[in-house]
């Protein structure tokens, strides 16, 4: 496994983060600008992916505690870790995402099914970035909370 170089770390009080929906796009745009090198297309890719993840956090996680964000990159990948204190807050969304299956093809099928369904699916955003941008998502839990990791290819769009 290649080593990843840290780009930036941030910490948000969830109480203030959830004061405005705009915070999701502001934070994702800022992080995307830090990540990109020169290719303008990838800025929109990264920004869209990160924004979707922040919006899931905004919707699912409460106002107590802090959210830690870390971005790192290797030659081939961008890693985004978002750590929140409340594991249970993400459970429903993650279960719906995991139920779509582990292969990219099945997740894409699930995403398309969601689009054609009137039944709301909390994982729609996660399935979308997985299908449209080939983002790999993982959720790790420990005693202190949960870390949502997005792995994105560098330079693809």
């Amino acid at each position: 496994m290649e080593s990843a170089e840290p780009v930036v770390r941030g910490r948000f009080q969830l109480s203030s983060f959830r004061e405005s929906w705009k915070h999701c796009s502001q934070a994702s745009n800022y992080l995307a600008k830090l990540i990109v090198d020169q290719l303008p297309d990838t800025y929109y890719l990264y920004s869209a992916v990160i924004n979707e993840l922040f919006e899931v956090i905004f919707r699912d996680v409460g106002t107590d505690g802090i959210m830690d964000v870390e971005v790192s990159r290797s030659d081939n990948e961008i890693l985004l870790d978002i750590r929140v204190p409340d594991v249970s807050a993400l459970a429903a969304t993650w279960q719906a995402y995991a139920a779509a299956g582990s292969s990219p093809e099945r997740r894409t099928d699930s995403y398309l099914d969601c689009l054609g369904s009137e039944e709301p699916n909390p994982a729609l955003g996660l399935l979308q970035i997985s299908a449209d941008y080939d983002v790999q998502l993982d959720l790790r839990e420990d005693e202190q909370g949960a870390t949502l990791r997005a792995t994105m290819s560098r330079g693809s769009s």
């Binding site: 840290p6 780009v7 930036v8 770390r9 941030g10 910490r11 948000f12 009080q13 109480s15 203030s16 983060f17 004061e19 405005s20 705009k22 915070h23 502001q26 934070a27 745009n29 800022y30 600008k33 830090l34």
Partner: protein, 194 residues
């Protein structure tokens, strides 16, 4: 036992970064490589605070947001110039009366000595007096770098309330700089009546 020195009234004793709404660990090598990244973080922090600001006066909020961006940009630029660590800590927070920014970084002791000399002069005179003095001095010396003009400007032109804590540790020091911007305009008449 520490011979920590303070200049101005630091807004919170200890744990300042933790008490604020948002904190970033920035890499000075990246910022130095591309100064655009400094303005990016400054604009982001200012926009973030503005997004949840209580003010309903759009003109006041826009001016406050622009001042915040200017102040953070200046403080982070200074931190990049004088940082001796592999990270700079930048925090921001807001309450009804102030937007607060805190920047921390390590510096060599000799660099900090120059900063403290400037801070002594700042305490002994007003920012306006010091600004004129520095402009004249820079004109004579033909240099602006390290003059402190940027700090004086954010006090005199943006109404920032500044404070510093210097914490020595061996041959280097941690420099904590805090700036508070009043959320209600006090340094000029926003309606153009004076």
């Amino acid at each position: 036992m520490s011979d920590q020195r303070s200049y101005g009234e630091f807004p919170v004793n200890g744990g300042l970064h933790d008490s604020l709404d948002m904190c970033w660990w920035l890499r000075p090598d990246r910022l130095e490589h591309d100064w655009k990244d400094v303005s990016e973080v400054a604009n982001f922090i200012a926009d973030y605070l503005a997004a949840s600001a209580a003010s309903t006066d759009e003109l006041v909020l826009r001016q406050l947001r622009d001042s915040a961006s200017y102040v953070v940009n200046e403080l982070v630029e200074n931190a990049v110039k004088y940082c001796a660590d592999d990270f700079i800590q930048a925090s921001s927070g807001a309450d009804d009366d102030h937007w607060t920014f805190a920047i921390s970084h390590g510096s060599p002791a000799e660099t900090v000595a120059g900063l403290e000399e400037f801070l002594e002069r700042l305490q002994a005179s007003s920012a306006e007096e010091l600004m004129i003095e520095q402009v004249e001095r820079n004109f004579e010396l033909g240099s602006e770098s390290g003059s402190g003009l940027g700090l004086v400007t954010i006090i005199a032109d943006h109404g920032a309330i500044m404070a510093w804590q210097i914490v020595p540790n061996g041959g280097r020091c941690m420099v904590h700089t805090a700036a508070r911007l009043p959320t209600k305009p006090t340094f000029c008449d926003w309606n153009g009546a004076g």
